[in-house]
Structure formats: structure tokens, C-alpha cells
């Protein structure tokens, strides 16, 4: 109501502009397999690396790649408008708060000065 012009991509039977032809089945399967493959990479990769210094960054990097794939393809960020993109970016920022401040405690907990 604030904006009387119809949403881009809106049709008569779908006023919200979610286009049914957005996802090609083949593409969905490829992305799905890629996410599963990355999970295997994560599991076997970190097992091979053992509890080393770079294991956690490696695991987080693979996990981020998976999340990006899901967000970009499955959650349709690839054709979201600016508000959707802004929402996605701010939720990443918010996750950043969660992780950085959490780790801020855990990684400095044993550094007590006397």
C-alpha cells in the first residue's frame, strides 16, 4: 500500500512476484550435491588435519561456503532486491557479533594477569 506500483515480476495469480520459473531442477540438484560434498570435505578434511591451529578456521571457512550456497541459490539472494540483500548482510554482521564476542571470552580466558 505504501507503494502502489506492483512488485517486479508480479503476475495476476502471484501478486508477490515470486516467479515459479526461478529454479531449474538441475541447478537445484547441483547446488544440493555441492553442499553435501562440502560437508564431506569438512568432515574428512578436519579429521585429516587433526586438532591443529588451522582446523577451526578451515571448518568455519567450509561452513561459510555452504551457507553462502544455500543463501544465494536456495534462499534466492541471487535475485533479491536491495532490502533482502541488506537483511542478509546485516544478519551476517549480527552473527559476527555473536561469534566475535563469544570468542573474545573463550580465547582470552586463560590470559589472566596477576
Amino acid at each position: 500500500m505504501a507503494d502502489p506500483t506492483p512488485t517486479p515480476g508480479a503476475t495476476n495469480d502471484d501478486p508477490h512476484g515470486i516467479r515459479k520459473d526461478l529454479d531449474k531442477p538441475g541447478q537445484l540438484v547441483v547446488v544440493f550435491l555441492a553442499v553435501l560434498g562440502l560437508a564431506l570435505v569438512n568432515i574428512f578434511g578436519s579429521t585429516a588435519m587433526g586438532p591443529g591451529k588451522f582446523t577451526l578456521p578451515f571448518q568455519l571457512a567450509v561452513g561459510s561456503a555452504q551457507a553462502t550456497l544455500v543463501g544465494y541459490h536456495f534462499m534466492h539472494l541471487k535475485n533479491g532486491d536491495k532490502v533482502v540483500l541488506l537483511t542478509a548482510l546485516s544478519s551476517i554482521f549480527w552473527m559476527g557479533i555473536l561469534f566475535v564476542l563469544f570468542l573474545g571470552d573463550y580465547m582470552t580466558r586463560h590470559m589472566i594477569v596477576d
Binding site: 500500500m1 549480527w94 563469544f102 580465547m107 582470552t108 594477569v113
Partner: protein, 587 residues
């Protein structure tokens, strides 16, 4: 704020309806129980929430009564120590999860967000109804677990006690809180989408009433934070039910992990509770001082500021729990930061009152009470945010007094301000002017007597949640319990006169307070789709043009409520000089 009203005399607001049969409205359109239980009308769902949370408020209040009565004697006056633990847990769980969090967003947010932005309903009416059912399901589980034995962990549910040692109904209670969390997410989502997508023509973001801004910020927190506590509670149940080591150190877990995750939600949750109250206050203070809000953008953006900064402070609850010294330093500093947007609000409210023509109806009295008590609550928070003093004050009655000043003195006062402000619109009836003012005074007095003594005993070292205490604290505990009695009477008074108003209250006009918001445009109680469907509102100006005497549709306001001279704003509207008109200067 620019006015885009057409030149010439603005069309007058409709004359108040003559007494007679009420026109069709959302209340008299169907009286069967099913017309309520299956309604998708946001106003009726708001009323459903109002009735439910009133019951939970009474339940939580009874638990508080048990706690206070037991503290009359230093060795516990009425209940066993075990029952005492269950009583204060029941008080916390009921009041926080089933009263404070839904209080303003689910009742007034539901009811008034669509009306204030000039639309027919929330974006997802069925989701709205679903949220009430989910809420009631969670509440039923939680109440059941309180009635059949109770929970003895405190509302914070810290492991390993809650997962290993506690012999009480932790799992059903936690499950109840978990389920009701979804209702909070649904309401937040609904309100947020509605504000984005369904504003009336002309209702730009900088013309939104501040109540809408504050609920937008609240919804943001509800959406982001509630899933975190949900997963935390699931982990808690998993550990308790199946002994999976997550938080319990004897199983290889980390109890501080629970505290981190719990407070990552529960600190922002206090802003879920207080922000809507701040929104109500912004509406009421402007209306009853007949002035535009001072610093509209500052107040609006400070809501968003609180919502964001509120996520950066959670570990101030853990200063003595064993977190890193450096993290504690950081969180102490960040906790101070939230004082900035809070203070911005308080200063702007004060500046709004300055040279306003103030009248002291009940909503205004509650709002002034809010500001005073919130200032005390906020400033005592600084003692707790400071690392050094918190080591002394942590887990004492000082903390209890502090958060009751913010949550009860702030939020419950804000809730009552909203209830009294919007009651004529919601029910179409006026309540007793005398008794409502009297109740506001009784509540403030009772509040001071209840919680000021707790600052004193807390500072002198009485720990919270202890059933027993040294003899020298008895004087203050008795004073606090006496104050709680006065407070209880104060809370019962609105229940009586508001109920009586439904039976024999004077018929409310469309705009009894002469307020500017769109919710006052249509009749009281509002019609089924909020506005006359043939002429949905078109907004031409900002939300608080009291000095011009026009509502958001640019129409002349009816007479101001008693206390504010009616000719004042009529004069200013006619000569068009706004706040500098001679009539204003005389006041």
C-alpha cells in the same frame, strides 16, 4: 515536519457519535465463543492476548506475594525453603515470558500498529492467530509445570543444577518457554512486515508514530534473539533428558556456554520488554503536553540504537562467573554504551514536557511515573555495569531492585499508560477519571516503598534468592513487603474500575484525548476493518502536530481533554502561529 495539507480550512473531524445503539464495530460483530477463537481480526487477537496476559500477571503476582510474605521473617515466615525457590522461579518465569514480553507488542502492537499506520489488518492475520495459540500452548505447559510441583532453578535455569541436580519440573517448564518463544517470533515478524509493506499513502518512515518505531526495533530483537534462546533451551533439555554433555562440566561441557547463550537472548529481551513501553510514553507525553515530540529522529533512531547496542552487552551478567578478565572489561565498557540512546530518549521526553500545556489524566501520570522510575532504574544500572562495583553488588538485592525499577517501574508503568490511553478506543468506554489518577499515585508510592529498601539491603550485602537473612535486614524487608501490599492494591484498582467502565462507563468519543494518531480517526470501538472502507486514510503530516491542532490527516482536532485549555490549540490552529502564538505564551 512539513505539512502537505491543501490550503484553506481543513475539514473538521466527525462529531462525536450521539448515545444510542453502537454502530457495527469489531466487538459487537459476533458474540459467540467461536467468533473469538477463530477470529483473524488483529483487534480481537489483541484482546485475547490482553485477557491471557492479565491472568498470567495475576499468577506471577501471587507468586511474588508468597516471596514477599515469606521474607517478613528472617527465617522464612510462611513456606519451606524449597517452596520458596519454586515461588520465586514461578514469579520470574510467569512475569518475564508470559507477561512482560507479550505485554505491549502482542496487545497494543497487535491492536494499534495496523490502525496507526492506516491499514486494515496485520500482514499475516492467520499467523497472528496462530501466534496466540502457540503462546497459550506454551503458557499451559509452563503453568502446569508450576502447579504440579514447580521449578526450583530460578528463571535463569543455570546448569549444571538445572540439568543434573534439580528434582523439579525443569523439562515441561523449559518446553513451555521454548514453545511460547515461537509466538514471540511470529508477532515480531508480522509487525515488521506490516510496517514495511502496509503503510497508508503518505505514511513515510519519518511520519511514523514513535510507538511504531519502537515496535519495529522490538520486532528486530524478537526475530534475531529468540531463536538463540530456543536452541539453548533445546540443548538444556537434551542434556537433562539424555545426559549429553553440553553444559555440565562433569560430562565435558561448559556451564559458561549456557550463560553466554542464555544472556545473548535474555539481555536483548529486556529491551523487548522496555522498548515498547518507551514507545507508549512517547505517544502519551506528546498528547498530554499538547506539543510535538522534541527530537523526533533522535527518539526514533535511539530505539534502533538500543536494539543494536543491546546485543553487545550480555556478558555483564557473568562478570563473577569466570569469564575472561579482558572480555569482562570489554563488556563493562559496552554496557555503559547503552546508556547513551536511553539518555537520549529521557532528555527528549523532558524537553517535550518543557513549556507544554500539561494535563494530568491517568495515562500521563503513569507516563511521568515511567520516566522517573526508569531514570532511577537506568542510573543504578551503571553501578552494575561498572566492573569493580559489580563484584560487590552482583547477585544482591541491589540487582533485584535495579531490574524491578526498569521492568516494573518502567515497563509495567508503560503498559498501564498504554492501557489507560487506548482503553477508550479499545472498548468504547471511559473509565473513572478520579480512580484512575488515584490508582496511578498508589502504584508509584507502593513501588517506591517496595524497591527502595531493596537497594539498601542489597548494598549492605543481602543476596538475592535467599529465603533467610540476618536479623538486621528485617526492618527493610518488612518495609518492602508492606510496599508490595500497597502496590498489589494499586494493581487491583484498575482491574475494578476498568471492568466497571465496561458496564456503566461513559461512551467514548472517537478521539477523547484529542490525539493526532490515525488510530483516533475512526469510531470507538473501531469498525471491523479499522476505517471506513470507502475512504482509507491518507497521511499529510507528521505524527505530533499538536501545536497546529491537526491530526495526521490534516483535520482539526476535537477539544483537548480536561486540564488543557481547549481554546488554546483552537487558537493556535486558527491563527496559525503554532507554538509562538499569544495563547501559548500565557500558559
Amino acid at each position: 515536519m512539513s505539512i502537505a495539507a491543501p490550503q484553506g480550512a481543513p475539514a473538521a473531524a466527525p462529531v462525536p457519535p450521539e448515545p444510542g445503539p453502537l454502530p457495527v464495530n469489531y466487538l459487537n460483530n459476533g458474540h459467540s465463543i467461536w467468533s473469538w477463537l477463530f477470529t483473524v481480526d488483529h483487534k480481537r487477537i489483541g484482546i485475547l492476548y490482553l485477557v491471557s496476559i492479565s491472568i498470567f500477571f495475576v499468577a506471577g503476582g501471587i507468586a511474588a506475594g508468597i516471596v514477599r510474605l515469606n521474607l517478613l521473617q528472617s527465617d522464612g515466615a510462611i513456606v519451606s525453603e524449597d517452596a520458596y525457590n519454586r515461588a520465586f522461579t514461578a514469579h520470574g518465569v510467569m512475569m518475564l515470558f508470559f507477561f512482560l514480553i507479550p505485554a505491549v507488542p502482542a496487545v497494543f502492537g497487535n491492536f494499534f500498529i495496523p490502525m496507526m499506520i492506516g491499514t486494515k489488518d496485520l500482514a499475516f492475520p492467520k499467523l497472528n492467530l496462530a501466534s496466540w495459540y502457540v503462546f497459550m500452548l506454551g503458557a499451559a505447559l509452563a503453568i502446569w509445570s508450576v502447579l504440579v510441583g514447580g521449578i526450583d532453578t530460578g528463571w535463569t535455569l543455570y546448569p549444571p543444577y538445572s540439568t543434573r541436580a534439580s528434582q523439579s519440573n525443569v523439562i515441561p517448564g523449559v518446553l513451555g518457554v521454548f514453545i511460547s518463544g515461537f509466538s514471540s517470533i511470529m508477532t515480531g515478524l508480522n509487525i515488521m512486515v506490516t510496517i514495511h509493506k502496509m503503510r497508508a499513502p503518505g505514511m513515510t518512515w519519518s511520519r511514523l508514530p514513535l510507538f511504531v518505531w519502537s515496535l519495529y526495533a522490538t520486532s528486530l530483537i524478537q526475530l534475531l534473539a529468540t531463536p538463540v534462546v530456543a536452541i539453548t533451551l533445546v540443548l538444556l533439555m537434551v542434556e537433562r533428558a539424555w545426559g549429553v554433555g553440553i553444559f555440565d562440566p562433569s560430562l565435558g561441557g561448559d556451564p559458561l556456554l549456557f550463560q553466554h547463550m542464555f544472556w545473548f537472548y535474555s539481555h536483548p529481551a529486556v529491551y523487548i520488554m522496555i522498548l515498547p513501553g518507551m514507545g507508549v510514553i512517547s505517544e502519551v507525553l506528546t498528547c498530554f503536553s499538547r506539543k510535538n515530540i522534541f527530537g523526533y529522529h533522535a527518539v526514533a533512531w535511539s530505539s534502533m540504537g538500543i536494539a543494536v547496542v543491546g546485543f553487545l552487552l550480555w556478558a555483564h551478567h557473568m562478570f563473577v562467573a569466570g569469564i575472561s578478565f579482558y572480555a569482562a572489561l570489554l563488556f563493562s565498557l559496552l554496557s555503559m554504551l547503552v546508556a547513551v540512546p536511553s539518555a537520549i530518549k529521557v532528555f527528549n521526553w523532558t524537553a517535550t514536557l518543557y513549556r507544554g500545556s500539561i494535563s494530568f489524566q491517568a495515562p500521563m501520570l503513569f507516563s511521568i511515573g515511567f520516566v522517573v522510575l526508569f531514570i532511577i532504574g537506568g542510573l543504578t544500572g551503571l553501578y552494575l555495569a561498572t566492573l569493580g562495583t559489580d563484584i560487590h553488588l552482583h547477585d544482591t538485592y541491589f540487582v533485584v531492585a535495579h531490574f524491578h525499577f526498569v521492568m516494573v517501574g518502567g515497563m509495567v508503568m508503560g503498559y498501564f499508560a498504554g492501557l489507560h490511553y487506548w482503553w477508550p478506543k479499545m472498548t468504547g468506554r471511559m473509565y473513572s477519571d478520579f480512580w484512575s489518577r488515584f490508582a496511578a499515585c498508589v502504584i508509584v508510592v507502593g513501588f517506591f516503598f517496595t524497591f527502595i529498601p531493596q537497594f539498601v539491603i542489597g548494598y549492605h550485602g543481602m543476596p538475592r534468592r535467599y529465603p533467610n537473612y540476618p536479623q538486621e535486614f528485617q526492618f527493610f524487608n518488612v518495609m518492602s513487603t508492606a510496599g508490595a501490599g500497597v502496590l498489589g492494591v494499586g494493581y487491583l484498582m484498575p482491574a475494578v474500575y476498568l471492568t466497571l467502565s465496561l458496564i456503566n462507563g461513559k461512551r467514548a468519543t472517537a478521539n477523547p484525548w484529542s490525539a493526532t494518531g490515525l488510530e483516533w480517526v475512526s469510531q470507538s470501538p473501531p469498525p471491523i476493518f479499522n476505517f471506513d472502507e470507502s475512504k482509507m486514510p491518507v497521511v499529510v503530516c507528521g505524527p505530533y502536530e499538536y501545536s497546529l491542532g491537526v491530526d495526521q490527516m490534516g483535520r482539526t482536532l476535537p477539544d483537548a481533554p480536561t486540564g488543557a485549555p481547549a481554546e488554546l490549540h483552537e487558537g493556535t490552529a486558527a491563527d496559525g502561529h503554532g507554538p509562538t502564538s499569544p495563547a501559548k505564551q500565557e500558559s
